[in-house]
Structure formats: structure tokens, C-alpha cells
Symmetry: C2
Subunit: 494 residues, 2 copies
């Protein structure tokens, strides 16, 4: 954690002489940033009276407004409270090429709690852990994170608040809260220092800037941003090494592959048997989802599987038992450019269900460790990191109370071939098959390895994988219904 | 309003024979839709037991899921209640090339109120008017709207509900509410018919489909969608006439232009005068915005004006009096592809402030009747329609209680030239000036006409234009502060 030395009082003249060069530098860097595959988060916090708002206003004036945004957080809305705690931060992230200035942030709640201004988070250690992982994920993904603590000493704070209070036009800034912070200066300084220490990490360090002299403070902040951004851009302006996928991937966890290959695929369910059992399970699924809704528990379904394994059909059977108001199917298609301007998980966070509702992902974030791994759409670093990022994501869902149900629908290579041919011969199924499907099929063995790794590395107690033998569609659909019912009932303690 | 004839009972065999051809047709049309600059809204409503959920499920199964989405509405969230009533529908519109199937819609609330299941909207006539205008706007913009009423006669409804109740697995569908609807069949049929009549409009007609026989109903709905979509696509697959802007536009409202040209621009404010008055107005602005916040009234600022008129600087002065948590500046840049896939107002609806907060648009929806009109980015039909659409939008804001403050910052051609040259000579201002600015400057006279029309046609009592003489920056900034303060105070009755 870098500590800036106290700066001497800066004259207005000297300040105004230095501003033009800084502004020029800032906008030049913004032009470069716009073209680079990275983004900037400036996170401001600090002692009461440190002038967070003024700094943000000043920087906003210096930067090109088209490339930046100011982000603030108030009390979480109900839409926010109904999702995992980090959802409200995910939704406010700036896009690639942009600077987000965070006036409040994921630190606000903890700082307010420390100051006695807000309720303590239920699990402060867990919350700290979410913060560290969130910042790591962003930083690993190339985001420049600059966390600035605008520091005032006890005497500077008293002087500053008195100055503000003396002027009728600024007196409103000196709230009861500010005065209380002033009285408890020592205690708050210690607790906020502990918070900074706990979250001062590579890729997301805190910088403490002395805010006693507003002019010096502004220059200091702008100088810090320019120097860090310049250094950061150099890394991203180099042509990136193109990821080259190995012709045959090496399994990270051979046990995953072995488990997949051992799955028996010869189960069969007769048409009569299916009809009678289906009704029973659909009824039970309906009761289970309604019970989940009453308990305000959300459900996230993840459908992964081979091409033509029957994901779509299985989803339609599943949803026939759920009221159309209560679920949403998200077929994972090509990302939009807004989605591409974010971390790969962003577009899945975006669609998380509200309390009591369900989202069914038809393919999902697992694309990162399947197609993206095998096609070289991301680097090895990226897909290797993804296992942890995904586990963390699903843990956050589970902690929030979301019921996570993941299926891998497994068919044999022969069965897939039969279905591909059938699709080609059925007019209304032809849109479901294209050259890419045939190409993927040629990489069957490589995919098996990636699937095996995925199953072994992302099957967790909170979000286990369910392997569904799917050569027989009726068998697969019943299995999926049963597993869904039992997972929901178990989560609700029914 | 088309009334389908009652259909005879359809055998399973006959149904299954007809489905494949329909599915084929549907997915073929979806392929064409994907490439066309249009979208489809399927809105379902109908008598209890009519099988809205089943129809949506069946259609979902037949359509390619990657090109469609199901939309449902529950109780409005607080984020929704804090915006104008149509906000929650704007945010759920499908993008170009897609089909949105609306299980609930802007009719749900009125229908529930009629049935006694929900509170009456405060202003039902106003709400009807919003609906008609919303559908007109979407339809004018090329959206195919199909509103389907799934009809059951009184006896068919009784039979259907009894069937459902008799089966333990479907009994849950027969709610208390459904039974109540059944008892009041006659009254509800009459009131919903009145609602359909009131909203049966060109571009958004209702189609009543007999839902007594589920199989026939499914075929009827799918047949309707295919025939309407096919006809609709023909219109959009023709190469569109390129809009050719006239070299010099003809003013629609010469009084607007005259008012603009009559604005005196020779006001001056000295530096000392400015410093002293500014503090006073900033303090008063701060008190006014805090009062608005306590009253949970939002504020929308619109900044329009000539290039280099000083919009950015004025916004920074304005925001220096508002807490960074309480406002957001939206600089209007190139739309993202998600924004381009919607009506031009969509990206402004998107950023409307929550209760008590402010959004400051640095350029706005008025681009439609300025640059888009003059550069031929939209057709004459489109920009002419925009005056009404914009007035309606701002009326909705005002009805919701949002305070709308619109500025046109006016400079002389000479002053603009001086500022352009200054920008070119100041390193940190060079990013603010480019060849396009010079090109726009060449079209000064054309822009004057468009601005005049805009002022005359969109200045309304709820959202008046404030013309700001801006040759003197200090004068302009003070004027903007004063006008803002007075507008907010007046709206709050202070």
C-alpha cells in the first residue's frame, strides 16, 4: 500500500500552470484507451471531508466525457437485493475502452458499517472474500483498478469541516454523520486501515493520497491516474500472442474423462412407461417450483451437452410444468457488442433470476472451458483461470440461496450421427444443423477431454453436475425431471 | 377486430400431420426475420383457461429458440415503479430480428383491474392512451404487433376448468381467481371486449382465436403468425429508399426560427460578478435538488446547443452543486448495437433516473430532428413523426412527476469560429474538434431551420425550452443555474 507524503500548499497560480499539461496527457491516454482491450476502474473512498465529490467533478471536467462514466450506489433496490450481493456491481461495470469513476463501491457498505452508519453485513469475512475475488477476476481480465483513499488527518478534517460549516452555501455538506466521524476519528482511521490492508492486493492496490490541500490533491490524483494508465496501456498495446489450441488437449483431470466414458448409455424407457411417469413428475416439479417461489428461492438450470443431445427438447418438457411468468430460457448465442465489452461472465450475471424465479441457460458460461478452450478463442491462462472463476460464481449463487442444477446430456458418437442425419432430412430441423456441428463432431475426442476436466473441476457440493445418459430421449427427459424435482425438494428441505 | 370462427375438434392424427409443415414455415420465416430490420411482438391474453401458457410453450418448441424470447411481467419492482409507467415495457422489448412472446403485457394491469384482481390504475383513460401511443410508435417503427385473445365461451371455460381440476397434476392451475372469473364470465367478457375495442388500432389489431380445442387453437395461432409475418417481411425485404436530405430544409414553423434569430447575444457578466452570484445560485441549486430528492421527484436535464456552445462546461458547473451519488451525466455518443436494434428513444428510456435522482443528457433524443433530419440518417416520415413521439415521451416523464429542464445553448457563428480555433490551438482541447464539426458548421443555416422547428414543435408547458444566450460563458452558466433552480423550485411549489 503506497503512502503519499503530505504535500505543501499549492498556490492557485502554480496549480493553473500545471493543469493544462495534465489534461492534455489525460485525454491523449483516453484516446489510446479507447482502442485498447482494457478498461479502468477508479475507486474513491476516504475520510469525511476528503473531497471525493470534488475530485470526481474535477476529473470529469478534465477527461473526455464520452469515454467515462461516474458510478454511484445508493441503498440496494429490490431488484438488487434479490440477486447475489455482487450483482449490483457487475451491472455497473464500464465497458472496454472506458473509465468508470466509482464514488461509492463494494467498499461502501463495509465502511458504513464500521462507522456505525449502516447495518453490519451478515458475513463480513465472506464479503471481503467476494471483494478480493471480484477484483482479482477483473484485474486478471485486464482491468486497471486504482483504489484511491483520500486521506485527511484529524486536525485537517476538523479544519475542513469547520470551513464548510462556516459558509452557508456549503454548510449542508457537514452532516450529522460527518461530525460523528470526526468525533470517532481515531477508531475509524484504524478500522478503515484494516479494511485497506485486507484488500490491498496485487492488481488492486490502495493508494492513500493526502487530501489536506485540494489543489495538490487534484494534481496528485490526476498524476497517479496518468502514470498508472500509461504503464498499463503499454501492456495492452503490444500485439497479443494469438492463442493456439493444441491439436489434442491434455486432460487436467483424467478421472473426469474416465467418469464420462464409464457412463452407461443403453437405458430405454417405453412410450407408455414414459407417458405415465412423466405426468407424475411434471406435477411434482410444478409443486416443487411453486414451493421454491413461496420461499423466494431462485433456480438456475444449466443445460450443457453434445450437439443434438436433446437440450432443447428436454427444456421444453421441463418448462411445460412451470408457469410462463416464472421462468426465462436464455439460449446462449453470439454475444452482443455490449457483452463483448465485458468479462465473459457478465452476460450470465445479467440474466440471473429475481427472487423466486428461474433462469434456464441453454448452454452457459461453460463455453469458456469447452469451445473457447478447444478453438483457441481464449488463451490457456484464461480458460485455466475460468474453473476457479466459475466455481466462485456458482458459490455466490448458492450462498444467495439460488438452487443451481447443472446437466451434462451425454450421447454416443453414433447416436449423434443418426440425429445429425435425421436433422438434415427433416425440413423443420434443418436450421439446427450446420457445417460447424460437423466440424465439432470431428473433434469429439478433444471435447471429451475438455468435458471430463469440466466435470471434475467444477462439480461442487453446492452445484454438482448431473450426467444424463441421453441416447434414449424419453429416458433423458425423465431423468432430468426427476433430478430437478429432487434437487429442488432437497434444497427446500421437503 | 377479426373474429375467428369456432373450429371443429381436431384429431391428434390430423394435428400431427399438419405440424411439420407449419414448423418448417415458422423457422424459415425466422431466418428471414433475422436479416430484416423489423421485429415481432406476440401479445397473448384471453379468458381464464384459454391456455396462454400452453400456446407459448408450443410455439417456443416450434420456433428456433435463438431468435425468440418469452416475456412475462410480475408485480412492478421498485426500480420500475420509480420510472414512468411504460418504462418496464420498454426495457423488455425484443431486439431487431427477434420475436418476443408476451405472456403478460401492458394489458395485464387493466385486465386484472377489470376482474377485480388488482387495483384500478389511477388514470385508466391516460393509461389506455399510453398503450395506444406506445403501440403506434412501435408499429410506425416497423414492429409487427400481433395481439391474440384466446377466447373460451362460458361453457367451454367451465368444462376446461373442470377438466383441469379433476386431474391432481393440473388442479393447481384452477386458482380461486380462475373460479371467480368463471362466476363473472358475462361481465368480464363485456369489459375485456371494451378494452379490445379501445385498443384495436391499425398496426396493432386484436385477433380473437377460439381456444376450445387446444390442437386447433395451436394451429390457428401458428397459422396466424406465419401469414402475418410473411406479409410483413415482404415490406421489409424490399430495398428501402435511401433518405436524401434536401440541400436546404424548408422550415415547418418559421416562428421557431424567427424566435431563435431574435435572441440577443451581447450579454456580458464580469468575472467578479460571476464569482459572487455563482456561489449563491449553487447553494440554492443544492437546496432545490435536495428538496426534490426528499420529495422523490426525479430531474431530467437536456443540454442541446451548437458545437462549442459550452454544454460540457455548463454541465460541470451545474453538477458541482449536486452530490455525485445523485446524478448521472449521459453523453450521447454512437449507439451500441443493442441500442441500434431498438427504437431511437430506447437508449434514452434506458437511462431515466430513479426516484429523486437526476439524469443529465449531454445531447439527447433531439438528435432525431437535428442531425438525423439534416444528414438523412432517417426518412422524412421518421423525423416528422419524431416531434409527436418526443412530446409524448416528455409528457410521460412529466406525468410521472419528473422535472424536465431543456436548454438550447445559442452562440453566434463568429463566436463558434473563435472557439473552434481556440480548441485547435489548445493541446487538451484538440480532441473536442474534428472534421465533422467543421462540416456541421458549413450547414449552419440548415441547422438553424431544424433548431427553429424543434423549438416551436417541442416546447410544451410541461417541458419548455430555455434558450440560453451563450456567447459569454459566464452569462450562460449563470442563466442555466438560475433557470434550473427556478424550474425545480416551481415544480416543488417552493
Amino acid at each position: 500500500m503506497a503512502h503519499a507524503l503530505p504535500v505543501p500548499r499549492l498556490s492557485k497560480k502554480s496549480y493553473e500552470e500545471r493543469v493544462p499539461a495534465l489534461r492534455e496527457k489525460l485525454v491523449q491516454l483516453q484516446v489510446r484507451l479507447k482502442a485498447a482491450p482494457t478498461k479502468v476502474l477508479l475507486i474513491f473512498a476516504g475520510e469525511e471531508g476528503g473531497g471525493r465529490g470534488e475530485v470526481i467533478n474535477t476529473l470529469s471536467g478534465w477527461l473526455d466525457p464520452r469515454g467515462m462514466e461516474t458510478v454511484a450506489f445508493r441503498e440496494p433496490s429490490d431488484e438488487e437485493r434479490e440477486r447475489p450481493v455482487m450483482w449490483r456491481f457487475w451491472r455497473c461495470l464500464p465497458a472496454l475502452g472506458r473509465i468508470g469513476m466509482f464514488s461509492g463501491s463494494w467498499y461502501t457498505e463495509l465502511l458504513r458499517a464500521q462507522a456505525g452508519d449502516g447495518p453490519k453485513p451478515a458475513h463480513p469475512e465472506q464479503h471481503l472474500d467476494h471483494i478480493r475475488r471480484f477484483e482479482k477476476l477483473l484485474s486478471d481480465n485486464g482491468t486497471l483498478i486504482i483504489k484511491i483513499w483520500l486521506h485527511l488527518s484529524e486536525s485537517d478534517q476538523r479544519r475542513r469541516l469547520d470551513e464548510l460549516a462556516a459558509n452557508p452555501d456549503t454548510a449542508w455538506r457537514v452532516t450529522e454523520e460527518a461530525r460523528r466521524h470526526q468525533r470517532h476519528y481515531e477508531r475509524l482511521a484504524r478500522s478503515s486501515e484494516r479494511l485497506r490492508e485486507a484488500t490491498d492486493r496485487p492488481g488492486a492496490p490502495w493508494v492513500v493520497i493526502d487530501a489536506a490541500d485540494p489543489r495538490a490533491r487534484n494534481l496528485e490524483v490526476a498524476g497517479l491516474v496518468t502514470s498508472q494508465l500509461e504503464e498499463h496501456l503499454l501492456r495492452f498495446e503490444k500485439p497479443r500472442a494469438k492463442a493456439t489450441p493444441p491439436s489434442m488437449p491434455v486432460p487436467l483431470r483424467p478421472d473426469g474423462l474416465a467418469g464420462l466414458l464409464a457412463l452407461p448409455l443403453d437405458q430405454k424407457v417405453s412410450s407408455e412407461d414414459y407417458e405415465s411417469k412423466r405426468e407424475k413428475w411434471l406435477g411434482r416439479l410444478n409443486r416443487a417450483t411453486r414451493a421454491a417461489q413461496s420461499a423466494r428461492r431462485s433456480i438456475v438450470f444449466v443445460f450443457e451437452g453434445w450437439d443434438a443431445a436433446g437440450k432443447g427438447g428436454a427444456i421444453r418438457r421441463l418448462t411445460s410444468a412451470i408457469d410462463a411468468q416464472d421462468y426465462r430460457v436464455i439460449p446462449v448465442a453470439k454475444p452482443t457488442d455490449e457483452e463483448n465489452a465485458h468479462h465473459y461472465l457478465w452476460r450470465f450475471w445479467r440474466h440471473l433470476p429475481r427472487a423466486g424465479l428461474a433462469t434456464i441457460y441453454d448452454r452457459s458460461w461453460y463455453g469458456r472451458v469447452l469451445v473457447e478452450r478447444l478453438e483457441g478463442f481464449c488463451t490457456e491462462h484464461e480458460w485455466r483461470r475460468a474453473f476457479d472463476e466459475i466455481n466462485d460464481f456458482e458459490t455466490q449463487l448458492a450462498e444467495h440461496g439460488t438452487i443451481v442444477i447443472k446437466f451434462w446430456m451425454h450421447v454416443s458418437q453414433d447416436e449423434q450421427l443418426r440425429r445429425f442425419r435425421e436433422r438434415e432430412q427433416t425440413a423443420y430441423k434443418q436450421h439446427k444443423i450446420n457445417a460447424e456441428d460437423w466440424r465439432n463432431r470431428d473433434k469429439w475426442a478433444a471435447y471429451e477431454i475438455a468435458v471430463g476436466d469440466m466435470l471434475a473441476l467444477t462439480g461442487t457440493p453446492e452445484a454438482p453436475w448431473h450426467l444424463i445418459p441421453a441416447n434414449d430421449k424419453r429416458h433423458a427427459r425423465l431423468q432430468i425431471l426427476k433430478t430437478s424435482v429432487k434437487s429442488i425438494e432437497a434444497a427446500l428441505g421437503l
